[in-house]
């Protein structure tokens, strides 16, 4: 059984249909990359999987660990192990990263029937996970994302991923706004968190990120559907030729 199984997923915002029948199977241990032109539904797919109520699911299903997550509230999906690395992480003045993470870790533990971590256990965990993305010591005491640079925000997303240890992480354009060094740090972080029993979806525009995070599958999401699936070489092909040929191929097959 797949870890995540998306079948004929349709979703709209207002009257506008954005996802028009997405099918995707992801197994434990796999890294999938989703690519595609702007405005074709990549971020919407990520948002719908984790339960953003801005979008309405009109058809289809999303099965995660055998459970229909479309019936679960956002926080339960998260506690089940779905994590979204935000394209635009939200600034929350007045809430420190450590308060935020301690609350999140302990709420997830509670959901799973575990005792909350004590202060010292939590600090130890945080120190350990900070290494993964080379977070500077003082960042944890700052308010969540407030005044962070683009690179710090994305590092902070991966740090949170490390803290929460999700079964399935979806990284939405984690490479946007990163310089080369930050990109390497973020990608290394993701690689360090990769295990045979978890999986990752990497949404990106650029092949560059995939030099660091090598995907098992590359999908092209176009006009609300996954229109092509290949291995990492598909990303190289896209880098070289752009998306025009995909469009042509589609039009030809429709004739």
């Amino acid at each position: 059984m797949s870890l995540l199984s998306i079948r004929n997923l349709h979703a709209s915002i207002g009257d506008k249909e954005i996802l028009k029948g997405v099918n995707l199977e992801i197994n434990e241990g796999e890294v999938h990359s989703i690519m595609g032109p702007n405005g074709n539904g990549k971020s919407t797919l990520a948002a719908v999987i984790v339960g953003n109520s801005k979008f309405t699911v009109t058809q289809g299903e999303v099965i995660f660990k055998g459970k229909n997550v479309l019936e679960m509230p956002v926080e339960e999906r998260a506690a089940e192990g779905l994590f979204l690395g935000f394209q635009y992480p939200v600034e929350i003045p007045g809430v420190s990263i450590s308060t935020f993470m301690r609350t999140a870790v302990n709420e997830q533990r509670k959901y799973r029937g575990l005792d909350p971590l004590s202060g010292s256990e939590f600090m130890k965990l945080m120190e350990e996970k900070k290494q993964i993305v080379e977070l500077t010591a003082n960042l944890a005491s700052r308010s969540v994302n407030e005044g962070f640079s683009g690179g710090e925000k994305k590092k902070n997303e991966i740090f949170q991923m490390a803290m929460l240890d999700p079964k399935m992480a979806i990284l939405d354009e984690t490479d946007s706004g990163l310089d080369i060094d930050a990109l390497r740090i973020v990608a290394n972080g993701v690689n360090k968190l990769r295990r045979p029993d978890n999986a990752t979806i990497v949404i990106t525009h650029y092949q560059r990120l995939l030099d660091y995070i090598v995907p098992d599958f590359v999908h092209i999401l176009y006009d609300g559907r996954i229109v092509k699936t290949g291995d990492k070489n598909l990303a190289l092909e896209l880098e070289e030729k752009g998306y025009a040929w995909i469009k042509e191929e589609l039009e030809n097959s429709n004739k």
């Binding site: 109520s53 506690a79 994590f83 007045g94 609350t103 999140a104 997830q108 944890a140």
Partner: protein, 453 residues
């Protein structure tokens, strides 16, 4: 007899007889009441305020000190040692001397006793901080029963904070008028914590006036905490007069109360004064809160900074009315005003009116106001990390309050206030642990690591 009738018919017979030097102030107050009564409809300063249900009610004015109860009232702040001054049902209460004259020249205790024993010191403050400009002030001036008197001489640093504890625990519905006077001498500094607590659920209407003089180069840190029952009404007027180079930090937190009016008037009589007035209010049910701040800049080179933040739930109603007056001579004034509100329901309301009145063109002034809801994007972000909606909302509300709480300069007090805010936001009736309203802290699903914020 209604409270209104009681005041208007008795205002010319003072409860506390003042010596000749101060009696004229009482006469002026009685005349003011005679002329103005309690007509506020056209008064911009009092327009939002409505205490009519208290003014039309028949309330008892306690006439003397009730016998000392077996239990001593405390409003403890863990890890903070304070000198406590208790006002119970309108009268100063102590086991010892009603007025203490300490070795370093500090005088603290009952105002009633101070008027008898050291009228010259009382006269340095009484009636000097404000003209009689409103009927509640006039009523208090004419008819106050007692209050706290604090006199800090020049060059004294009072290390231990003084704590005024206003207690209401009368078996009947009561009307109280207490008056507190505070003098901080030249180069001196004082931390004053003022708690107003209900110890039962009976109706209590309190018309309190506090007059404060901060002399040259002196500093006052004034913390006010209000935790009253839902049947209570509190008009809390504070008048401050500052001499040159004086500093005031005022921080008022309204946790609970049926109807609260915090009325602050601050006048700077010299250059280089520094004023910070902060307020936080957390209201729900049918509660009302009105915050009024008047700051008069009459001399050059003074700073004033106002920050008021509030969260309104259910049908709560509130107003912020801030007035900064920059007079012709007050060049190089730096004045800022900010009021931010979160409305949690469609029925909660707030009227926000920041107001600058400027007669000098060499000044830097700003004002701002915002009214909104909790940030949906931030809520989603928190919930995507597994935090349940109730906890996420509490966390965001707590974060909203943080800006005010972090300005509390005493660490143990800041800690206590954070915990009280946290409990209040979790929907518990907040209160100090010794008061009858206190509820056990359970079903607390997150602990805010306050050291890390």
């Amino acid at each position: 007899m209604t409270t209104t009738d009681l005041i208007l018919s008795h205002c010319d017979t003072a409860t506390v007889q003042l010596p000749q030097s101060m009696a004229s102030v009482q006469k002026e107050a009685a005349d003011f009441l005679d002329a103005n009564k309690f007509a506020f409809a056209k008064n911009e300063v009092w327009r939002n305020v409505d205490f009519s249900d208290f003014m039309n009610d028949e309330l008892l004015v306690p006439q003397q000190n009730a016998p000392t109860p077996q239990t001593k009232f405390t409003c403890g702040i863990p890890n903070l040692d304070t000198t406590q001054l208790t006002i119970r049902n309108g009268f100063y209460q102590t086991d010892g001397e009603p007025l203490q004259k300490l070795g370093n020249g500090v005088v603290i205790g009952s105002l009633r006793t101070a008027i008898a024993q050291c009228p010259d010191l009382v006269a340095k403050v009484f009636g000097t901080t404000t003209p009689v400009n409103n009927s509640f002030l006039a009523a208090n001036t004419a008819m106050f029963t007692d209050g706290v008197f604090i006199y800090i001489p020049d060059n004294a640093n009072v290390a231990k904070p003084l704590q005024i504890l206003g207690v209401a625990d009368h078996e009947k519905s009561i009307f109280l008028q207490t008056r507190n006077l505070v003098y901080v001498g030249k180069n001196s500094s004082l931390t004053l914590i003022h708690c107003d607590d209900s110890y039962n659920h009976n109706r209590c209407f309190s018309n309190t006036v506090t007059e404060i003089v901060i002399d040259e180069y002196a500093r006052l840190d004034h913390y006010k905490m209000q935790n009253l029952n839902d049947n209570s009404g509190l008009i809390n007027q504070t008048f401050v007069r500052m001499r040159q180079n004086a500093t005031l930090l005022s921080n008022g937190i309204s946790f609970n109360g049926g109807n609260i009016r915090n009325h602050n008037e601050i006048r700077m009589d010299g250059e280089h004064c520094d004023v910070q007035v902060h307020g936080l209010y957390l209201m729900d049910k049918e509660q009302r809160i009105d915050n009024y701040v008047f700051v008069e800049h009459s001399h050059p080179n003074c700073n004033s900074y106002e920050l008021f933040k509030g969260i309104m739930d259910d049908n709560a109603h509130g107003s912020f009315n801030g007035h900064v007056l920059v007079c012709d001579g007050a060049s190089k004034t730096n004045a800022q005003q900010s009021n931010k509100n979160i409305l949690l329901t469609d029925k909660a309301t707030i009227n926000s009116k920041p107001f600058l009145e400027i007669y000098n063109d060499d000044v830097k002034c700003s004002h701002g106001s915002s009214i909104g809801q909790l940030d949906e994007q931030a809520l989603f972000y928190l919930m995507q990390r597994g935090i349940r909606p109730h906890t996420a909302r509490t966390l965001l509300m707590f974060a909203f309050c943080d800006e005010v709480l972090k300005s509390v300069g005493i660490a143990p007090l800041q800690q206590q206030l954070r915990e009280m805010v946290q409990r209040r936001l979790q929907g518990e009736l907040s209160s100090c642990d010794n008061c009858v309203m206190s509820c056990p802290t359970d079903n607390c699903h997150f602990t805010i690591d306050v050291s890390a914020i």
